[in-house]
């Protein structure tokens, strides 16, 4: 008997019990949805992290006193808390030691004493600006560009001039109808002269990057107390080829600057795009594993549901099976019919789950401003798994149907 015919019959009988088919399928849909949704969101985020990791520019690594983000606890944490700040002197010494390898060392320190507002005349921004001190390499290290005016010069930094460069959001708020250049802006109680503006950068992971104001790091430290800040150092290797060499040199330089003896551990953290990606990947792996376990359990439950409904269906249709056998249906025709029904239930449920999962995952991705992706691999795996579940859950009921005695089943009422 043709496969097409079996398929037609299977669709027909699933259509008879629409609610029941729908409920059975929804179990599979939920299982597939959870894994596809998570995988889509994770791939979308990872794609955007890998292509446009905007925290750091290319070939850049960063040195700081504390590790980023991921919390350690106990002994390790106490050791980190006891570390000395990286001072301006240390940072400048480091810069000097690396001078023959790279010029691009960006010093950064950020204001942390509460929300910062910028004001000019009677206009002011919302509180919550990113306010920091840096040097002329801030643009390269953080992938900003100048829109109006100019960047800092080495002289501005050396002389700790009270200049400021404004992000686009700040410009829009304070200078909606005039050029900001040369104007005075008040930040955290100090006054700075605007020498430039950053070009619009948009947002990354749901956070705008245009609510930012940067002043010379030297000025920043003298205005807000040098002892209270630890400086972050972003260093750009001249090329990918000498990246590792530069990194080695940087670690050596930093150890010298920090006066570490040979047996002492580094009392600073180094991270790069690679290490951020790796850290993300680590989290992503845990999330994925969790999603896999959850959906495996959901799918197991759903396959029990399919087997149950198929057993009910075989019993209900005993008479039909008898009729089919009496007009010449062979065992494999009946087996095929019920197996295909189970597979159809499962795969249809799977397809619905994949569609919902991809939509939801991508909605999340769009919300976090990551790129939309379609996880072909996971979708294919989902379909294969669903077919397998269909066969596994349908096999016993289908065998039961195929082995029914035609006389008994014709008599069944």
């Amino acid at each position: 008997m043709e496969f097409r015919e079996i398929l037609r019959m299977a669709f027909g009988s699933l259509g008879v019990n629409k609610l029941r088919s729908f409920l059975t399928m929804s179990g599979i849909s939920i299982g597939v949805f959870s894994v596809i949704g998570v995988m889509t969101a994770v791939s979308a985020l990872r794609g955007s992290i890998e292509t446009g990791l905007s925290v750091l520019g290319s070939n850049i690594f960063q040195i700081s006193r504390n590790p980023t983000g991921f919390q350690t606890s106990g002994e390790a944490r106490r050791r980190i808390e006891q570390r000395r700040n990286i001072t301006l002197e240390q940072a400048q010494r480091y810069q000097q030691l690396l001078r023959d390898v790279t010029e691009v060392v960006c010093l950064k320190a950020f204001y942390r004493d509460g929300p910062v507002q910028a004001s000019h005349g009677n206009r002011q921004t919302e509180p919550g600006l990113t306010f920091g001190g840096s040097n002329e390499h801030f643009l390269a290290a953080n992938q900003y560009a100048i829109d109006l005016g100019r960047n800092f010069t080495a002289e501005d930094i050396d002389l700790a001039r009270p200049f400021v460069i404004l992000g686009q959001s700040v410009v829009r708020k304070l200078f909606p109808a005039e050029s900001p250049l040369g104007k005075r802006v008040k930040l955290a109680g100090r006054t700075y002269e605007v020498i430039g503006t950053f070009a619009e950068k948009g947002s990354s992971f749901g956070q705008t990057q245009d609510e930012i104001v940067i002043v010379p790091v030297t000025r920043f430290l003298s205005d807000f107390g040098a002892a209270r800040f630890s400086i972050n150092l972003a260093t750009q290797a001249p090329s990918q080829a000498v990246y590792n060499e530069t990194l080695d040199r940087a670690i050596t330089a930093m150890r010298i600057v920090r006066s570490l003896r040979a047996e002492q551990e580094n009392d600073f953290e180094i991270y790069s795009n690679d290490s951020l990606i790796a850290a993300f990947a680590q989290i992503a792996d845990v999330v994925r594993a969790g999603a896999l376990v959850i959906s495996a359990i959901a799918l197991l439950a759903a396959s029990v549901g399919i087997m149950n409904i198929m057993l009910v269906s075989v019993t209900e249709r005993t008479k039909e099976i008898g009729i089919r056998k009496s007009v010449g249906a062979r065992r494999r025709s009946i087996l095929g019919q019920f197996l295909i029904e189970a597979v159809l239930l499962s795969v249809t449920g799977g397809v619905v789950g994949i569609i919902l999962g991809v939509l939801t995952g991508n909605a999340l991705a769009v919300w976090l401003q990551a790129e939309v992706v379609f996880p072909w691999g996971w979708a294919a795996l989902g379909l294969v798994t669903c077919s397998f579940i269909g066969v596994a859950a349908g096999l016993y009921p289908a065998l039961k149907a195929a082995n029914l005695d035609p006389i008994e089943s014709l008599r069944y009422e």
């Binding site: 008997m1 009729i323 249906a329 062979r330």
Partner: protein
């Protein structure tokens, strides 16, 4: 000779008891015979019918169908014989309730592996032959008992079987409709079909040309209708 049965017995085990449904039956049926099988309940009538219809195999003895030994066949071989050689008509019609007349009649052709176009063509002819050419898209519950039985007869004949095997074909019909169905059987017999009717009603058996009476698993009498 379409059917030759020699020394056929059938045993059933019901718990500890063994029931001898058939105790050694000999029967020959030729092409274009019109035969009634009669007997009270428990006579082995149904068992013989199931055997003739290749739904069941004998415990011992020989059953040749068109020269092929059916007694030793496995399930799928029996299914093929049922598909090609036997047309069933049941007391309760046994149509697929959710399929229309056309699809019900096409069913044996589906399992015969014919293409959709050929199936449709032949099913339409079969339905027209039983006078239901204008009812092809009606479902069983949209038809009268007589119409349903006609659909069943069209289904039984659609694959040009060697025998038409009817089990109490008028049992669920009023007497007038029953007579219509028996008239249809008469037409079919005159067209050259081989018809076996299993019944307990003398009125029905009287339509046949030959009556076989069973009692306690044995053939009690076998002869022409008086």
């Amino acid at each position: 000779m379409v059917i030759r049965i020699e020394g056929v017995t059938k045993l059933y085990r019901m718990g500890a008891e063994t029931i001898h449904a058939l105790r050694g039956v000999n029967l020959e049926i030729r092409r274009n015979e019109y035969l009634a099988i009669m007997g009270p309940s428990g006579s082995g009538k149904s068992t013989l019918m199931n055997m003739l219809g290749c739904l069941d195999t004998p415990s011992a003895g020989r059953y040749d169908f068109n020269g092929k030994d059916v007694a030793r066949m496995v399930d799928d071989e029996l299914a093929e014989i049922r598909n090609r050689e036997i047309g069933f008509v049941f007391q309760t019609f046994n149509l697929l309730p959710r399929s229309d007349a056309l699809h019900n009649v096409e069913l044996p052709l589906i399992y015969a592996g014919l293409s959709p176009a050929v199936r449709r063509e032949r099913a339409l002819v079969a339905l027209r032959n039983v006078g239901l050419g204008d009812r092809i898209h009606h479902k069983p519950n949209e038809m009268s008992g007589g119409q349903r039985q006609r659909v069943a007869i069209a289904r039984a004949l659609v694959n040009h079987p060697s025998i038409l095997l009817a089990d109490e074909p008028t049992g669920n019909l009023d007497s007038r409709t029953g007579e219509e169905i028996m008239a249809l059987f008469e037409d079919l017999y005159e067209q050259g079909h081989t018809i076996i009717v299993v019944t307990h009603e003398e009125d029905i058996a009287r339509h046949a040309r030959r009556v076989v009476r069973l009692r306690d698993g044995l053939i009690e009498s076998d002869g022409p209708v008086p």
